[in-house]
Subunit: 605 residues, 2 copies
Amino acid sequence: MPSTLLSVRDLRFLLYDWLDVTRLTERPRYAEHSRDTFDAVLELAERVATERFAPHNRAADLTEPTFDGRRVRTLPQVKAALDVFAETGLLAASLDASVGGMQLPHAVSAACFAWFQAANVSTAAYPFLTLGNANLLLAYGSTEQVDTWVRPMVRGRFFGTMCLSEPQAGSSLADITTRAERQDDGTYRLFGTKMWISGGDHELAENIVHLVLARIPGGPPGVKGISLFIVPKVLLDDGGALGARNDVVLVGLNHKMGYRGTTNTLLNFGDGVHRPDGHPGAVGYLVGEPHQGLAQMFHMMNEARIGVGAGATALGYTGYLKSLAYARQRPQGRPVADKDPTAPQLPIVAHADVKRMLLAQKSYVEGALALVLYCGRLLDEQNTAPAEADRERARLLLDMLTPIVKSWPAQWCLAANDLAIQVHGGAGYTRDHDVEQHWRDNRLNPIHEGTHGIQALDLLGRKATMRGGAGLALLVETIRATVTRAWKAEGEAAELAARLGGALDRVTLVTRRLWDTGDPQMALANASVYLEAVGHVVVAWMWLEQLLAVEAAGGAGDGPDVAFHAGKRQAARYFFRYELPRTGPQFDLLESLDRTTLEMRDDWF
Amino acid sequence: MPSTLLSVRDLRFLLYDWLDVTRLTERPRYAEHSRDTFDAVLELAERVATERFAPHNRAADLTEPTFDGRRVRTLPQVKAALDVFAETGLLAASLDASVGGMQLPHAVSAACFAWFQAANVSTAAYPFLTLGNANLLLAYGSTEQVDTWVRPMVRGRFFGTMCLSEPQAGSSLADITTRAERQDDGTYRLFGTKMWISGGDHELAENIVHLVLARIPGGPPGVKGISLFIVPKVLLDDGGALGARNDVVLVGLNHKMGYRGTTNTLLNFGDGVHRPDGHPGAVGYLVGEPHQGLAQMFHMMNEARIGVGAGATALGYTGYLKSLAYARQRPQGRPVADKDPTAPQLPIVAHADVKRMLLAQKSYVEGALALVLYCGRLLDEQNTAPAEADRERARLLLDMLTPIVKSWPAQWCLAANDLAIQVHGGAGYTRDHDVEQHWRDNRLNPIHEGTHGIQALDLLGRKATMRGGAGLALLVETIRATVTRAWKAEGEAAELAARLGGALDRVTLVTRRLWDTGDPQMALANASVYLEAVGHVVVAWMWLEQLLAVEAAGGAGDGPDVAFHAGKRQAARYFFRYELPRTGPQFDLLESLDRTTLEMRDDWF
């Protein structure tokens, strides 16, 4: 019986038939790997996710972490699962062998991690955050910081967090006020309050490594005066052993409707309750140079945002597979043209409207997964392509795609979860089935790691204009190359290529028209609509790519392959017929330089 | 401080300035009423909803009813609120004075009830179901049945349920198997299991009156052999006093993600555990004639489905008002064109993207409320218009609009709740704010009382074709009359009228094209897309109607009126610019007679 978490067949198609990740093993970084090692690690991920993470997904939702004023208690299964996860070494799947990593391509490690996100997104959040933290320190930390903090994280002894938001500063990081005062010994003392910190306190690991954005007094105002610090929950003594508690105090837990198994915290730094040594403040260690905090954070955002998109995709994917399984076994109703009540009922998968809801989900989740893995592949190109020009192209293209790979799955795989509930009918909103939880869990993804609106400003306000529009030009050129290939392939691919080409022209024209106004307020007024339209064009491109990969695989397949390929074709058709046309009115609106929202006054609401 | 449940100003605008419900008092049925009595009862509803229902909305969500195998326990505040509700007489707001009702127009009583749905939809569900039950018995029950069962329901002593679904029969009522065996004394004994029964057991009232669909052995198969029965939880003795327990057994409670304060039950009828008199089976009383059960149910569906639409609207509305209040007080970020970090932050309502999310919500919830009250007004016309032809027109138009007034608010006011969360940012998915609960509660509305897909088949398969298309022709003609009026009004109304006229033409053409195929399977393949497109056209009509009402009110308003009217204009613009154009690609798809879903095979998924 195939998994209802993800589709092994689809992962293999995307990684091997389409992205051809096996060829990466020709590069020195991946020389130790082969298709066999990729398959082995993917199977390991599936097995651990299925056996250790999925079984307590509902229990973690029903039994939130609690805080009695002294300790945070979590479901025992969470720690048990994370211990197994650490033993497998999967946390460091993509990291350098020099720090204990497997040195896998990102495309493969993202696929591995998606198994855990599909199985139990709230337990998977702990290693997700830890990995993000480790990546940042690997990029900007000193050798000593890597040895002290990253190595224990890689082994699962320490977990990590990202402490950005404060009560008055969420989307607007310019407004953070946490301050870091330099001490004579070169360390800092931090004072401030951090909000929405996932994994901010727990007893799942020996220590928690907080990465904290804060201001060094005297620095410039706004985002230019933000620095990055390591602030551990527990200080280490000179020999590296766990010592006194640092002055990081859990004020309370936030209670959410989703990701309920992940502790989400309000933390006070330097409020004096846990003063370790008579000096006030939480002990912190500067990462890199002062005032570079935001740039450092942004540099690792690409990876974190692909990760959020991957999580949203995984939740959408498992919801799709579960609703498909339900639709195949639930009898209800009869053909519209022949309602003989004495005939047996049909499984609901036979009804056109249910097929519509399943095809929509399939087109969203498989389209999103393709985009996530494509971005993982770009990360690999950026890091390991032999030619500098190719690395640079990959970096630029990934910069363009980052707001899309974060927001598109968050929006549309949430929509997939909504449809998964609908396929279940009344059963879908009971807690007897998983789909309602997936929907609640997935609702966080359009908000955390930068809201939809922030991604939209990033895409249209920053990415589309950076380097004189070079990023946008590269994206358009790259999609155009697929269109041209599809055009030459003739048949259905050529027909879809024509439609994608038309939509692509509109992306270019609309972007120019918006910025030709010379008025950023006008240009950005409908940035969210722009993000959605460009997102649909990008995913249509992913579908055309998949269609071409199917046609390339062509007649070679056996029975199951024929059905698999037919499903890919039909989902591609669905996306081009039902989804891509949505962009027409969106481009029309953008082209009209609509001022409806700008002209709305607060007192008119 | 204005309410964050509903807008009194908007309700007055819709009821008085637009629907002119005061003129109904010229009719005999409403002769005792006046604008003053309407205002008084609306104020009463607001006050009781605010003081008695809203305060325990979250508590009812957090503390679900429990069943210990003997008794169902509910939060004490639920019963306290319902007792006050019963004392006000609001349950019978629209019912005849002869049974203790207030004899209010449905447009007014729907507005009253919306306050309770906005305040606490799960507590409001008990009177909602009781009223639906009472209406059905008033239409089809004998005088004795009305005296025995309806009068205690009107006074709040008994509550009512609707028992339709069974484990194997949800959307497909043809498949119910509960059987009702006639006894020598003319009563029946029922045997079977009913699923998803809201309010199916509790101790909130002295008795529960179940209305149960069942088959009398020997009747025709399918929907033509279904009859309707009264099956009380507690039997009455000859003097009408509460007697022995009937053989209706609570098997268990369903646990949902929303409406958590409403008990939702699996009930066994006639399983012998509570056999009252040695004869097996649950004692039931036939309502009307045998085999008329489904027709009877459908006759009262119009009202129940308006009620579901009203509930969805109320949840959307309160979410909108709460997100607006949040946006006005939450400072975050600065103008896109001037990001001086030393300047104070703006309230987020000042950002274009937040205004977009608020305008979208406003256009959905006020559009939906207009549609709900318009349908209430049609119910009043159907019941009290002096000329039979007008009553008949109202009935036909309401038949057409019923699947839309049920499904459109369920879809788009749920979308409004999603946006309300987004406006709140990270705070929106915590349980510290109401909006996440509204979103969960609202997710039930696209499923219960007939799923979206069932409403779509009803609209395109039944309503659009009934009486040779007379219903659709009437709908188009009625909308066209508004278009013509707006056209003559010139200015902005004329511009919007032209767009609505264009969309209306497509409704007619597309419907004809679909049925001209002569192939019901093809015609209905994309019924859901048809439902969504026609729904948007209908709500655009509601916005054009509101715009005309604003223009008619014109220069007369004082300060607050000017702002209120400007808001209505802007929301109308928003709907026509951002929403109505969505229908273009939907009509294109329908016109293309797309077969993507029909051709999809189960083994291709």
